[in-house]
Symmetry: C3
Subunit: 349 residues, 3 copies
C-alpha cells in the first residue's frame, strides 16, 4: 500500500512541513471524515477550526495558518492547498484507463470521415460523412457525430454524446455524456394553421479548452453560429439557446438557462438555475447569483441577484425589509392610533 | 458564389423594393454583424435605429418602416420580415442531407416491427417488437423504440432519442436528441419498509405536428395516458410528468416543469423555467412568464408572474413597492418623530 | 374482456363493499373522465364531491367516506384507495414484456466482465472491462457501463443509460433512460491561462432500492464518493453534484439541483426546481418546498419556502404583507397628510 511521509508530500506540492517530517499517511479524506492514517486539507475558511479537531495526521493548510500541530500531527503550508490536495489524491486513485488508438469494429464510420490514426472511436459509435476527428481525440461508445462536423486534437467526448451536423470544435474540448450539441433552435412563425418551424440552418462553434457537462443542450443557430469561446466551462443540464455567444473563460453552473441571441462577455459567472431572457447582453466579469432572473442588459463587473435581478446589495436590503414588513405594518397601526388620540385631544371636550 | 439582387429577393419574399433594384448581396447576417455584401432584417422594434447604422446593403423591413435608404442601399418591405429572412437564408445555407430510405445494417430491428419501406432507420438504432413506423419517417442513429410503439408519417427522431413501449405518435412529429418519452411517472406509496413503487401502466400519446426539443422528459401515465395534443412545441430540458394533458398549439419553453395530472389548455405559453404544481388547470391562451411558480388554477387568457404567481400587473406593482421599501421605512421613522414632537408640544412646558 | 364485480374488487384490495356486490366494471379511469363501466378512486380530498357527480359505477373510497351510493353504484371502502386502485389497474393493463436472460449478439461486452447468466444485456449496449452485473438484472439497449462498475441483483437500467467507470450499485436499483451516473464533478483551479481542471478521481455509490428518473445527472466525487443511500427516489432532470450524500428514503423531485458536498439527511423532501447551495447540511425529515433556494444549513423537520428560503409560515406571512404593500403605502400617505394638518392647526392662525 502506498505510503507518503510529510516530507515527501511537501516535496510533491512545493510546501513547507510544520511538525515532524517522518509522519506518514496512506489515504486522503475531508477533515470531517478523515482517520489517523489520512491526509486532509483546509481550503474553505468555514472549516478552519476543523483542522484541530480532525483525526487527519497530516493537513495541507494555507500559508497564513498559524496554529501549531500536536506532536503526532503535521501541517504542510502551501500556496494552494486545494490544488495540492488534488496532486496527492491522484497518487492514491486507481489509474485511469485511457481508451487505445483505433476504431472499435462495432463503430459505424463513414468512408469519407477523416479520423486521425491516434484517435479512438468507441463501440457502437456512429460517425457520419465528412467528419474530421483530430490527433489523440477520444470519441467514446455510443456517441453520434453528424456530417461535416470537425473536432481538433486532444478532445474527449464521453459515452452517448450527440453532436449534430456541421459543428466546429477546437482542441482539448471535453463533452460529457448525454449532452446534445447542435439541436434545432426553438423558433416558429405564427400561421393560420398553428405554427411553422423557422429553419435552423446555422451551426455551433466551440473553441479550445471548453468543458461541457452531462445532459447539456446547445442549440444550433437559426443562421450564423451559436458560439462558445475559449476556456468556457459549462456544468450539467444547462440550456444554451440558438445564436448565443459566450465569452472566454465564462462559467455556467448547473441548470442555468440562456435564451436565444444572448451575448455573454468574458469571465462571467452564471450560478445555478439562473435564467437569462432573450437578446440580453451580459458584460465582462459580471456575476449572476443562483436562481436569479435577468431580463435587461448587465454591465461589466456587476453582481446581480433576485427575480427580477438587482444589484446584490440592493437584493439583500430588499430582503431585510421584506422580513421586517410585519413590524413596519405594526408601526403604521400604532401611528394611526396615536394620531387619532392627538386629534381627539385637540378637538377637546 | 450565389448572388441575389434586391429585385430577386423581393420576388422570392413577395415584397416591395425601396431603392435600387439592382443592388446585390451574397450572404446574410444580423444588423449588428452584417457587412456590405449582406442582407439583414428588422423584426424587433428595439433594433429600428440599427437599420440605418448597419452595413447591410439590403434590409428586409416591416411595411410601416418609413426611413429612406441611402443611394447604395435598399430596403425590401414585406409583411413578415423574419419569415422572409428565413426564406433567403435557406438559399445560402448548405443543403441538408436527408437520410435515405431503408435500414442501416447495424440497426437491430425486431422481425415483428412494421417499418414503411420509405422510412429510414439509422445506424445502431434498436426497434423492438410490434413497432410501427410510417411513411417517410426518419429514426436516426442510436434511437431506441420500445415495443408496440407506433409513429405515423413524416416523423423525425434525431439521434439518441429514447421512446419507451406503447407510445402513440401521430404524423410530422419531430423529437430532438437525448429526449426520453414514456419513462415511468414518479409515484410511490409509503410503506413500513420505505416506499413501494406505484406501477406506471399507462402510456404517452403525442398528436400531429408536435415538436419536442433535446433532453426533454415526458413520463408515461400511471394509467390512461400522458397526452400532448396537435401542434404543441416543447423546448429543451422540459419535464412533463405523468398524466399531464397539453392542449393544441401550446408552447413550453426551456427548463419549464409540469407536475403530475396538470391540464394545460390550448395556445398557452409557459416561459422558461416555469414550474406548475400537481393537479392544476391552466386555461386556454394563458401566459405564464419566466421562472413563475403556479400552484393554483389559472383562468383563460390570464398572464401571471412571480412565485407564487400573480397577475403580471400586480407582480410589477409589488416589485415597485418592494424597491421602495427603504423609502417607506424612512417615512415611518419620520412620522414617529413628528408625532412625538406633537405630543411633546401638547404636553406643554 | 375482463370484468370485475364489486365483490371481487373488494376481495382483491381487502376492502368493504357499500352497495350491491354484483355491480361490475371493465376498465379504470379518474373520477372526471370515468364512464359507467369504469372503476375510479378518491384519494385527494379536493375531489370528494366528484365521487357523487362521477359516472364511475364503482369507486374506491377512504374508510371515513360516509356518503351513500345511488342504487346503480357502489363504493369500496379501503385503507389506501390509491394503492388499491393500482392493484386493479394492473389487472386491466397489458402485461409488461420482461427482457429475457442472456446477451443480445449486438452488445459489446468485455471478456473480463462478469455478467450473471440470468441477467439481460440489450442490443447495442456496451459493457467495459471488469464490470459485474448481478442476478436478474436488466441492462437495456444502448446502455453504457464503464470499467470496474458493479451492479447487484434485480437492477433495471432502461435504454440509453450511461454509467461511468467504478460506480458501485446495490440491489433493486432502477435507473431511467438518458441518465448519466459518474460524470466528472464541476471543479477548476484558477490559472494564469484560464482554469485548470481538478481531477475527479472519486466515484458514485448507489445503495439498494434506489430509483433514479430520466435524464438525471449524478457527478462522481472529486475524491471519496458521491453517495445515494437506500431507498432514495429521484425524479427526472435532477442534478446531484460531486461529493453529495443523500440519506435513506429521501425524495428529490424533478429539476431540483444539489450543489457539491451537500449532505442531505433521511426522509427529506426536495420539491421541484429547488436549489441547494454547496456545502449545506439538510437535517432529517426536512421539507424544501418547490422552487426554494437554500444557502444555509436546515434543521431536522424544518419546512422551508422562498428565495432565500425561510420557514413556510414566515414565507406566507411575508407574501401576504407584500400583497398589502400598496395599501400600507397609502396609509403612510394619509398619515403624512393628517400630521401636516395637525401641525398647521397647532401653529394656529
Amino acid at each position: 500500500m502506498l505510503e507518503l511521509t510529510a516530507r515527501e508530500i511537501a516535496i510533491i506540492v512545493g510546501g513547507e512541513v510544520i511538525g515532524q517530517d517522518s509522519l506518514a499517511i496512506n489515504g486522503v479524506a475531508t477533515l470531517g471524515k478523515a482517520e489517523q492514517n489520512h491526509l486532509s486539507f483546509l481550503s474553505n475558511d468555514k472549516y478552519r477550526s476543523a483542522v484541530i479537531s480532525s483525526s487527519a495526521r497530516i493537513v495541507l493548510v494555507p500559508l497564513d495558518f498559524s496554529e501549531i500541530p500536536q506532536d503526532n500531527r503535521a501541517w504542510i503550508k502551501c500556496s494552494d492547498s486545494s490544488a495540492s490536495f488534488s496532486l496527492i489524491t491522484a497518487r492514491f486513485a486507481p489509474p485511469p484507463r485511457i481508451p487505445p488508438s483505433g476504431r472499435h469494429p462495432s463503430a459505424v464510420i463513414s468512408e469519407t470521415a477523416k479520423i486521425h490514426p491516434t484517435a479512438h472511436i468507441g463501440a457502437n459509435a456512429t460517425i457520419e460523412a465528412d467528419v474530421t476527428i483530430g490527433e489523440n481525440s477520444i470519441v467514446e461508445a455510443g456517441c453520434f457525430i453528424g456530417y461535416e462536423t470537425t473536432a481538433g486534437a486532444g478532445c474527449r467526448f464521453y459515452p452517448n454524446v450527440t453532436i449534430r451536423e456541421r459543428t466546429r470544435i477546437g482542441n482539448n474540448v471535453i463533452i460529457h455524456s448525454g449532452t446534445v450539441i447542435g439541436s434545432d433552435g426553438f423558433g416558429y412563425i405564427p400561421d393560420p394553421k398553428g405554427h411553422r418551424k423557422i429553419p435552423q440552418v446555422g451551426n455551433v462553434q466551440i473553441d479550445d479548452d471548453v468543458e461541457i457537462g452531462a445532459n447539456v443542450t446547445v442549440d444550433r443557430a437559426r443562421f450564423d453560429r451559436t458560439w462558445i469561446k475559449n476556456g468556457v466551462k459549462i456544468d450539467n443540464l444547462v440550456q444554451v439557446a440558438h445564436n448565443v455567444v459566450i465569452g472566454e473563460n465564462t462559467f455556467i453552473v448547473s441548470q442555468a438557462g440562456v435564451s436565444g441571441s444572448v451575448e455573454i462577455g468574458k469571465g462571467v459567472i452564471l450560478a445555478g438555475q439562473v435564467g437569462i431572457s432573450g437578446h440580453v447582453t451580459i458584460g465582462d466579469g459580471a456575476t449572476i447569483m443562483g436562481k436569479a432572473g435577468v431580463a435587461k442588459d448587465v454591465g461589466p463587473g456587476e453582481t446581480l441577484m433576485g427575480i427580477p435581478a438587482v444589484a446584490r446589495s440592493q437584493f439583500w436590503r430588499q430582503t431585510a425589509y421584506i422580513q421586517k414588513l410585519p413590524e413596519l405594518a405594526k408601526k403604521i397601526k400604532t401611528l394611526e392610533k396615536e394620531i387619532q388620540a392627538l386629534k381627539d385631544q385637540l378637538a377637546g371636550p
